[in-house]
Amino acid sequence: MSLSPEQIRQVAQLARLQLNPEQVEPYARQLSNILEMVDRLSSVDTANVSPMAHPLDMVQRLRPDTISETDRRDDYQAIAPETQDGLYLVPKVIE
C-alpha cells in the first residue's frame, strides 16, 4: 500500500493538520513505508478471532450521578489562549 501526495493532503485535512507543501512528499514516502510494514497483517488468518480492544476483561464502572467536583472554571480558563466573560473565544463561525 502506498500513499500519494494527494492522499496525504486528504488525510491531513481529515486530521485537521496544516502541512507545508515541502512536507507532503516526505510524509507520503514515510507513511507508505509504514503501511508497507503494517501490510504484513493482511496475510494472517483471523477468521474466528474476536478483536481485542483492551487487555483487561472489565466492565465499565458506574457511579451515582452526584456532583463530586467543585467549580474550577476560572482555573481552567486561566490557561486558555483567549476567553471573554467565562467563554472560550474562536474565530467567527456564523456570519
Binding site: 485537521r16 493538520l17 502541512l19 504484513r40 478483536p51 487487555p55 474550577r72 489562549p81
Partner: protein, 486 residues
C-alpha cells in the same frame, strides 16, 4: 549521596547524616553542574522541592516519616503537576500549566517524595531515542554522542547520571524498558491498570502504563509500591489490592521456570547483546531457575500490530488539541477550521504528525476493517500466545530488551520504520497488557545492555524478586558512567 540506594538514603535521613533539604540541594547542585550537557530536565522546580524537603524534615523529626519521605525524585513531563508547566515534550503544550495533579504525583507527594523537576521525553512519548522532543535531544550519560533511548530519555539520563535517585516514566511500547537497557538501569512497566493513568497525558490509552526507572530492582519496588493502586478517576484502573512488592525480594528463585521464546532469540540482536543475555541465563540457572524453550508464534507480528493500534488511539486522543481551551494557538486565523489546522500544524512535530495521519488513515472509511479491526484480532493472537505459555507452567519469560547498545544521534532519523524496529522485543507486553521489566546484564564496548523479564498479569512482585536475586549475584547495575561517578 547521589550513589546511595533509597534504603540507604532513608537510613541516612533517620540517622541525621543529612537532612532532606541537604539531600535535595545536593541533587539540585548536580543538576546545575551536569544537566546543561545532558538536557534531562525541561523544568527544574527548586522552590517547590525545597518546600517539600522542609515538610519532609518536619515529618522525619516528628517520627511520622515513611520510607520514601524526603527522598528526591524526577517526574517525567507527561504527568500533570498542578501549577507547574507540563509540556509532554511538545511545542503544543509549551505554555501549559496543569490545573491539577496526576494521581501518581499526588501519591508520591503524599508519600513524602521531593519532586526535583520535570523530565525531557520524546514528543507525546512517541519515539525511541528522545530525538523528537521539542526541547531537544537528551544525551546518554554513558556516551554523549549516543541516544539514551526513548521515550523516557530524560528519566533514564537523570537517574543514570545521579541527577535524581529515581524517576517516574511511562511505557506504551517499550518507553521504560528500552531506555533503561541503554543506560544501565532497572525499569519496570507494571500490568495495565495497576497504576492510575489519571493526569498522565494520553498517547495510546489501551497500551499506556506508568512505571519507574531506578538503579536497582529494590529501589524500583519501593517507588512502584507507592504509585500502584486503584483509582476511581481512571476508568481502566484495576480494583484489586496491591501486592507487597518489597517483602518477597529476598525469596529464593529455586525451582522457578523461565521461558525463552525462540522467536525472540532468532536473528535480530547483536552478537554482543546475545553473549550478555546468555551470561544472564547462566547466572539465573546457578541461582536455581529452570529454563525452557517456548514459542510465542505471533510475536513477529507485534510491531505491525502496534503501528496500527497505537496511531489509531493517538489520532483520537490528540484530537483534543485544537487551540481553543489550552495549548498552542495559531495567530490570526480567520476561520475555526484554519485555527484548528494551523494550531495543530504548528504545535505538533513531524513524528506526532506522522502517527496522527497513520491513525486517521487506518480508522477512515474503507480501511477500518482491513487495518484497525485486523490489528485488533492479531492483538488477540499475541495475547493468547502469552496466556498459553503461562498456563503451561511458565512463571516468567526472558528475552533481550533491545537489539543492540545505544545508537548514535541521527542514526534512524529519516527512516521511521527502522526506528520502530527498536521496539521489537518490548511491544508485545503492552499489546497483551502484562508486566515487563528490563535490568542491566553487562557491557559491550563499554556501553550497557539489558535483558527483559515478562510476567503474567500482576506478577510484579515475582519479577522484582527475580531481578533482585539476580542483582545480589551480579554487580552490573552498580556500575556508573565515569564522568558522573564522583
Amino acid at each position: 549521596m547521589h550513589k546511595h540506594s533509597i534504603a540507604e538514603l532513608a537510613a541516612g535521613l533517620r540517622g541525621k547524616k543529612f537532612s532532606s533539604r541537604e539531600l535535595t540541594q545536593h541533587f539540585l547542585k548536580r543538576i546545575d553542574a551536569h544537566d546543561g550537557a545532558l538536557n534531562s530536565y525541561v523544568t527544574i522546580t527548586a522552590e517547590r522541592a525545597l518546600k517539600q524537603a522542609d515538610a519532609a524534615d518536619a515529618e522525619l523529626a516528628a517520627g511520622n516519616a515513611g520510607l520514601l519521605t524526603g527522598i528526591p525524585i524526577g517526574q517525567k513531563d507527561i504527568f500533570c503537576t498542578q501549577g507547574v508547566r507540563t509540556a509532554c515534550g511538545s511545542k503544543m503544550l509549551d505554555t501549559f500549566i496543569a490545573p491539577y495533579d496526576a494521581t501518581i504525583v499526588e501519591k508520591l507527594d503524599a508519600a513524602g517524595m521531593v519532586m526535583l523537576g520535570k523530565l525531557n521525553m520524546d514528543e507525546f512519548a512517541m519515539g525511541s531515542s528522545n530525538e523528537t522532543s521539542f526541547y531537544g535531544p537528551v544525551c546518554n550519560p554513558w556516551d554523549k554522542t549516543r541516544v539514551p533511548g526513548g521515550s523516557s530519555g530524560g528519566s533514564v539520563a537523570c537517574v543514570a547520571a545521579g541527577l535524581a535517585p529515581v524517576a517516574t516514566a511511562t511505557d506504551t511500547g517499550g518507553s521504560i524498558r528500552q531506555p533503561a537497557a541503554l543506560t544501565n538501569l532497572t525499569g519496570i512497566k507494571p500490568t495495565y491498570g495497576r497504576v492510575s493513568r489519571y493526569g498522565m497525558i494520553a498517547f495510546a490509552s489501551s497500551l499506556d502504563q506508568a512505571g519507574v526507572v531506578a538503579r536497582s530492582a529494590e529501589d524500583a519496588a519501593h517507588v512502584l509500591q507507592a504509585m500502584s493502586g486503584f483509582d476511581a478517576k481512571d476508568s481502566t484502573s484495576v480494583e484489586r489490592p496491591v501486592d507487597d512488592l518489597v517483602t518477597g525480594l529476598n525469596t529464593s528463585i529455586r525451582g522457578l521456570t523461565i521461558g525463552l521464546p525462540k522467536e525472540y532469540f532468532a536473528d535480530g540482536m547483536s552478537a554482543g547483546v546475545r553473549e550478555r543475555i546468555e551470561q544472564a541465563i547462566a547466572t539465573l540457572t546457578k541461582l536455581g531457575a529452570n529454563f525452557k524453550e517456548i514459542s510465542l508464534p505471533n510475536s513477529p507480528l507485534s510491531v505491525p500490530t502496534y503501528y496500527v493500534v497505537a496511531p489509531a488511539e493517538a489520532s483520537s486522543n490528540l484530537a483534543r488539541f485544537d487551540g481553543v481551551r489550552y495549548g498552542h494557538r495559531a495567530e490570526g486565523a480567520k476561520s475555526l477550521e484554519e485555527l484548528y489546522k494551523r494550531s495543530r500544524g504548528e504545535g505538533f512535530g513531524a513524528e506526532v504528525q506522522r502517527r496522527i495521519m497513520i491513525g486517521t488513515y487506518v480508522l477512515s472509511h474503507g480501511y477500518y476493517d482491513a487495518y484497525y479491526l485486523q490489528a485488533q484480532k492479531v492483538r488477540r493472537l499475541i495475547y493468547d500466545d502469552f496466556k498459553r505459555a503461562f498456563a503451561d507452567g511458565i512463571d516468567l519469560v526472558l528475552s533481550p530488551t533491545a537489539t543492540d547498545v545505544a545508537f548514535k544521534f541521527g542514526h534512524n532519523s529519516d527512516d521511521p520504520v527502522a526506528m520502530y524496529l527498536n521496539d521489537i522485543y518490548t511491544i508485545a507486553a503492552n499489546l497483551a497488557g502484562i508486566p515487563a521489566m528490563s535490568l542491566p546484564c553487562g557491557f559491550v564496548d563499554g556501553l550497557p545492555t539489558g535483558f527483559q523479564l515478562m510476567g503474567n498479569f500482576f506478577a510484579e512482585a515475582r519479577m522484582l524478586n527475580v531481578a533482585h536475586q539476580y542483582q545480589q549475584a551480579t554487580d552490573f547495575h552498580t556500575k556508573w558512567p565515569t564522568e558522573y561517578a564522583s
